[in-house]
């Protein structure tokens, strides 16, 4: 892996005077993918938005590319949860993607420049949606919407990609579509990624590091180091279990029966 890209030391994030998450310390290297796990209200989104430079109420040290996040927003792409979007606005998929590049090119956007449209088309091709560019965003399936948002993030040519629950509310086949695009981004573009998720299992293929938070840092390390019974039970309760299948670690809650495989 490359140089250190994110440095967080004793990072405490505040919302309306309350501590959303406190005392977070970690480092992430260039090219790595971090899976950020934790229950609802654990502070995952707060941490992600702060790293994206969208939330500035924090104490401690946080450097992204050696600078405070707000100063390097051009290098960061943030993909919000798709349900937070207002789909009453009848934007086409290509217009949503173009949004990622437009604001780096001026202040008024009466028309989308042809160069931006071309980049948006290429980004849609990359995520496998070249044929739906003129469909309205609201008419797309959950998986397609998430891939359009990924294309929007890519068109801004980021060095750091932050994804908030990209797999939530998706059916299994849509999850596979999105995960395969994320794997392609990692493989072909080598962009550093932080992905918040409730369910790390579909993402273990691409996760280099795992961080477990629950208002504070519970564990940070490789999947092998973090996805252990004694660690995940602290957050998810006594029914949580870590299972190694082949070379990969998985995390389950409830009874697990795996035949012919190592159980850790």
């Amino acid at each position: 892996m490359g140089e250190i890209l994110i440095i967080a030391e004793n990072l405490t994030i505040y919302y309306d005077g309350y501590r959303a998450v406190e005392d977070i310390t970690f480092r992430l290297s260039s090219g790595e993918t971090l899976l950020l796990l934790g229950p609802n209200g654990a502070g995952k989104t707060s941490l992600l938005r702060t790293i994206a430079g969208l939330h500035k109420s924090y104490t401690g040290k946080l450097l992204v590319f050696g600078k405070p996040p707000a100063e390097v927003k051009d290098l960061i792409s943030y993909v919000p949860q798709s349900h937070s979007l207002n789909e009453r606005v009848p934007l086409k998929a290509i217009e949503v993607v173009a949004m990622g590049a437009l604001y780096k090119r001026g202040f008024i956007h009466f028309n989308i420049p042809k160069s931006v449209l071309k980049e948006a088309e290429e980004a849609l091709e990359f995520v496998g949606l070249g044929d739906i560019k003129n469909k309205r965003f609201a008419e797309l399936s959950g998986g397609q919407k998430q891939r359009v948002l990924l294309a929007r993030a890519l068109v801004s040519k980021p060095k750091l990609l932050l994804l908030d629950e990209p797999l939530s509310a998706l059916d299994p086949s849509a999850r596979v579509e999105v995960v395969s695009v994320l794997a392609k981004i990692k493989r072909e573009m080598r962009i550093t990624m932080i992905i918040t998720t409730h369910d790390p299992n579909p993402l273990t293929e691409i996760g280099d590091k795992v961080m477990l938070v629950n208002k504070r840092l519970v564990a940070f390390g490789t999947p092998e180091e973090v996805l252990r019974d004694e660690i995940i039970t602290k957050v998810y309760g006594s029914l949580a279990k870590a299972v190694k299948v082949g070379e990969r670690m998985y995390c389950f809650i409830g009874d697990v029966h795996i035949h012919g495989r190592e159980r850790r």
Partner: protein, 273 residues
């Protein structure tokens, strides 16, 4: 031969239609109906304050300017509160309540000032702000409406895509190096300025309906942006022109006729669903 006052009313109606036809879909898509409601309360407060100053300084052109300045100040205040993390509902609700209280107070002061200047027939103007006075539009009013409307129209046109983006995903605009707060504040200012500009034509009571319903109806009929804008513009224009003609023929206020027509179209579409 069309009487001159009717011609002026028709031209004013066309300008109002263009502005509201463009703005109404945004009000609907961004969910700004409550803001428009608060804006129009503010316009009343501004108009009453303007009338007080107009009486004191014997200059009734102050009414429009004071209403415009107060409304823009208030919408910027609402935007600032939202930017500080208050929900849109809370920011508008708090400010609108304060404005409503202030309006009652201002009316008290107005009546006191009016009592000291009985030779001014200003009570008529208060009523005209509530109901609109389309047939009493002067050439100066019309010029002001057209010039001001043209400025609002071109600003709205230039930033229309940005308003759509900020309505779709304000955080996304911010994340991709855009200034979502600026676009949102500008949109609020345009809503306020449009209201201040057309209030004498349409009337406060009707303003909410003609600002919200055309966009609502257009969004019900189509999910294509060009069609939505076309329907909203066409509907507003038809209703405005038809209401002026009917008002001319029947002596019923045109704002009331416009409200009833839009209400009937909306009701028909709701029942047809």
């Amino acid at each position: 031969m069309i009487p001159e006052y009717l011609l002026r009313a028709l031209l004013a109606g066309i300008m109002v239609s263009v502005l509201l036809g463009m703005l109404s879909p945004l009000i609907n898509m961004k969910g700004l109906a409550f803001l428009t409601h608060a804006t129009f309360h503010t316009l009343l407060f501004g108009a009453v304050l303007g009338m007080i100053l107009g009486l004191i300084f014997s200059n009734f052109s102050l009414v429009l300017w004071v209403a415009l300045i107060i409304t823009i100040f208030v919408v910027i205040l609402i935007a600032l509160l939202e930017n500080r993390g208050f929900s849109s509902d809370t920011a508008i609700g708090v400010i609108a309540s304060f404005i409503a209280g202030s309006t009652v107070l201002a009316f008290g002061v107005l009546y006191k000032v009016m009592a000291s200047r009985p030779y001014f027939a200003l009570s008529q103007s208060v009523v005209s702000y509530l109901t609109g006075e389309l047939f009493l539009i002067t050439l100066n009013d019309l010029m002001f409406l057209v010039l001001g409307g043209a400025v609002i129209f071109f600003v709205m046109l230039a930033f229309y895509r940005d308003f759509l983006y900020v309505s779709f995903d304000a955080e996304g605009v911010e994340a991709y190096s855009g200034n979502a707060r600026f676009y949102l504040t500008l949109l609020y200012v345009l809503v306020g300025a449009t209201g201040a500009l057309i209030v004498r034509t349409v009337g406060l009571i009707t303003l909410q309906v003609v600002a919200v319903l055309p966009g609502t109806i257009a969004v019900m009929l189509s999910n294509d942006l060009r069609k939505i804008l076309g329907i909203s513009l066409g509907l507003t224009l038809s209703v405005q022109v038809l209401s002026i003609v009917l008002a001319y023929l029947t002596d019923i206020p045109p704002s009331g006729i416009a409200t009833i027509m839009l209400g009937l179209v909306y009701g028909f579409l709701v029942l047809r669903r």
